[in-house]
């Protein structure tokens, strides 16, 4: 009996190691719920306050649409909103086209990693630095008058890396043998692109456009530097909110409306990119 234990093997502990104790799983679950609440509760609260009589009181109650009525009878926000929409659409379109052209070329490079890295770095350059840099370039170096055009340019520089990454999701996966198959069946290069490559890349291109629009539509930091005297919608809201005027309640309504428009748009992007692309 004794000789059998001469190796002195330690029995395997029936207890799990602390790293795999069940408490972590529970903590992960409840911590996750807490995070989700932290994200969505303020948004929901904002919407509730926007339909309350006294939003600045902080507690929703005696619901009415009076602030929405005030918002729609007020025309002060129309111009900034129109400017933001126009810049957003322009940035979205330019992003989609530029990201498609560059995103199709990038995977054919010998070492695309380094080039991609350089394209993606602006994601991590602080908005203040990028805004200030573009400001200096346009204002001091080129001596140009700032306005919507410089805001749009700043937004494009900001949104392009996102658009490129999104388009790369589809261009990297694109099977170039399909192009050969198209040519082999008699299609010209033009037809092959429009009949085969473009429809397959399309979810990524549309996503890039939508994302470019959203990035521009929400942008404040770069706009502050580059706007000159022009006002975009987020800048206008920020000025109104900071000024603590009686306008504030209608800002809540405006913010709620913007949220209700952008959230479905964002869901659309992810659906296009992951559900649609994944299926084919």
């Amino acid at each position: 009996m004794k000789s059998q234990h001469s190796l002195n093997l330690r029995p395997i502990s029936p207890k799990l190691e602390p790293s795999y104790a069940p408490v972590w799983k529970r903590l992960g679950k409840w911590g996750g719920f807490a995070m989700l609440a932290l994200i969505y509760f303020p948004l929901l609260w904002l919407i509730l306050l926007s339909i309350s009589q006294n939003p600045l009181g902080g507690i929703p109650g005696s619901f009415s649409l009076e602030h929405y009525r005030a918002l729609f009878s007020n025309s002060a926000w129309h111009k900034p909103m129109l400017a933001s929409l126009a810049i957003g659409v322009l940035v979205g379109l330019v992003c989609a086209v530029a990201a498609t052209i560059i995103g199709r070329a990038l995977p054919t490079l010998n070492s695309p990693g380094r080039v991609l890295f350089m394209f993606v770095v602006p994601l991590f350059v602080p908005g203040m630095s990028m805004g200030a840099a573009l400001f200096i370039l346009a204002r001091a170096v080129l001596n140009l008058k700032l306005g919507f055009w410089s805001v749009a340019l700043g937004h494009f520089v900001w949104a392009f890396p996102f658009a490129l990454l999104i388009v790369l999701v589809v261009t990297v996966r694109f099977d170039h043998r399909l192009v050969e198959a198209g040519r082999d069946l008699g299609a010209s290069n033009w037809r092959v692109f429009w009949d085969i490559e473009f429809p397959i890349l399309m979810p990524g291109i549309v996503s890039a456009a939508l994302f470019g629009f959203l990035m521009s539509f929400n942008e404040v930091m770069r706009s502050i530097f580059l706007r000159g005297t022009a006002e975009t919608m987020p800048v206008w809201s920020w000025i109104q909110a900071a000024a603590q005027q009686s306008q504030v309640p209608i800002i809540f309504s405006l913010a709620s409306l913007v949220l209700l428009v952008t959230l479905p748009l964002l869901c659309g992007v992810f659906w296009l990119l992951f559900a649609r692309v994944g299926r084919s």
């Binding site: 198209g182 040519r183 008699g186 429809p199």
Partner: protein, 360 residues
């Protein structure tokens, strides 16, 4: 090499293709007649796929004296303008189109109007027994079904030449054998010229009217499947076609195609000389298939003394190795044959089963 083909659908003369410093095709000439099933056989790197890409126009050759498809000079035409289509190894079906749209694409490009193109495409799908799946997405099809869609898409435009690039490579054994038969039947019923690329000698022998064996960018031998199987003209061809016994000896006599070789121990064997220009007194190779050798008892005409050295049971057959005056020989006896377990003293074969060609 293949001149004299009547009514040629494909003519290639003196084709050279280089990738940088690598010569993928080295002065190759091939032609295929109308309705012929031509197989280009070779291992990877033999240049067979390059040949296919040059024919289809996906690759422009470094130089070629003549390249014609259906009588039309296509040497300078892009792929889209050539009257040939390809069944790709990867199938390359368009994932965003359903089955019938894939098949109809070539017709759409040729400006066949919508309803006619779809009707034609459905007919092509019926030909490959897929009419019931016309409206499926490509991702819903099995490998074998994708294969058929690729085939239907390529034949629906009625090209002068259909190119097939190892189309059965991705299928499992059973399906591959069924598809071989189907492909042959389809080719006969369409009367279309097929140029089929494969590395499998079994596929080449089963389906082809003519086989072109390639190695290192050159044509090693071309002829009927039977020619390649029984009359290899070189050591490479014999090895590729599965000859288990290839032995070196000295050619001591040649009378027409009948040659006699002598081994160092003095043993003499007769065989069919398949190569030209062999010198009596020179070193040659003689090859015999394992399954053509069997144990013999009496003094059979073509036989040698043998001692059993090894016996490996392989299910359907048994591989036997014997030592002889010619060196070690492998023979194969089918399971159930009486000689399977008995003692072996002599092994023999028919004179026409031994082939003699240059040693290198």
């Amino acid at each position: 090499m293949n001149n004299g083909v009547v009514d040629p659908m494909l003519e290639i003369e003196d084709l050279v293709h280089c990738y940088g410093a690598v010569t993928a095709l080295n002065h190759v000439s091939v032609s295929a007649a109308k309705g012929e099933f031509l197989t280009i056989l070779g291992s990877s790197g033999s240049g067979k796929t390059t040949m296919l890409r040059v024919i289809s126009g996906l690759e422009m050759p470094t130089s070629v004296r003549r390249l014609r498809i259906g009588g039309q000079d296509v040497a300078h035409l892009p792929a889209a303008k050539r009257n040939c289509t390809t069944v790709f190894q990867s199938y390359a079906l368009f994932p965003h189109m359903n089955v019938v749209e894939n098949v109809a694409y070539g017709l759409k490009i040729r400006k066949v109007n919508g309803p006619d193109a779809l009707k034609e495409a459905r007919r092509a799908l019926a030909m490959v027994q897929l009419e019931g799946k016309a409206d499926r997405r490509i991702s819903q099809l099995s490998g074998g079904e994708r294969q058929r869609v690729a085939l239907a898409r390529a034949v629906v435009t009625q090209p002068a030449v259909l190119l097939l690039d190892e189309p059965l490579g991705a299928l499992d054994e059973r399906l591959r054998q069924d598809m071989q038969i189907e492909l042959m039947e389809l080719q006969r019923s369409l009367g279309m010229t097929f140029v089929y690329i494969t590395h499998s000698q079994e596929e080449a022998l089963t389906m082809s009217d003519r086989v072109v064996l390639m190695s290192h960018g050159r044509i090693v031998q071309s002829g009927s499947p039977l020619d390649l199987f029984d009359r290899p003209e070189s050591r490479f061809a014999a090895g590729f076609m599965g000859y288990e016994n290839i032995l070196e000896a000295t050619l001591v006599a040649q009378d027409g195609t009948l040659g006699t070789v002598e081994f160092p121990g003095g043993l003499r064997i007769r065989g069919v000389v398949t190569a030209d220009g062999l010198k009596v007194g020179g070193t040659v190779a003689i090859a015999i298939r394992a399954e053509r050798i069997s144990p013999v008892s009496a003094e059979a005409p073509e036989s040698v003394e043998a001692t059993l050295t090894n016996r490996i049971y392989r299910g359907k057959y048994t591989d036997v190795t014997v030592a002889t005056g010619a060196g070690p020989l492998r023979l194969r006896s089918w399971h159930g044959v009486g000689s399977e377990t008995e003692e072996i003293r002599r092994v023999g074969w028919n004179t026409t089963d031994a082939v003699i060609f240059a040693a290198q």
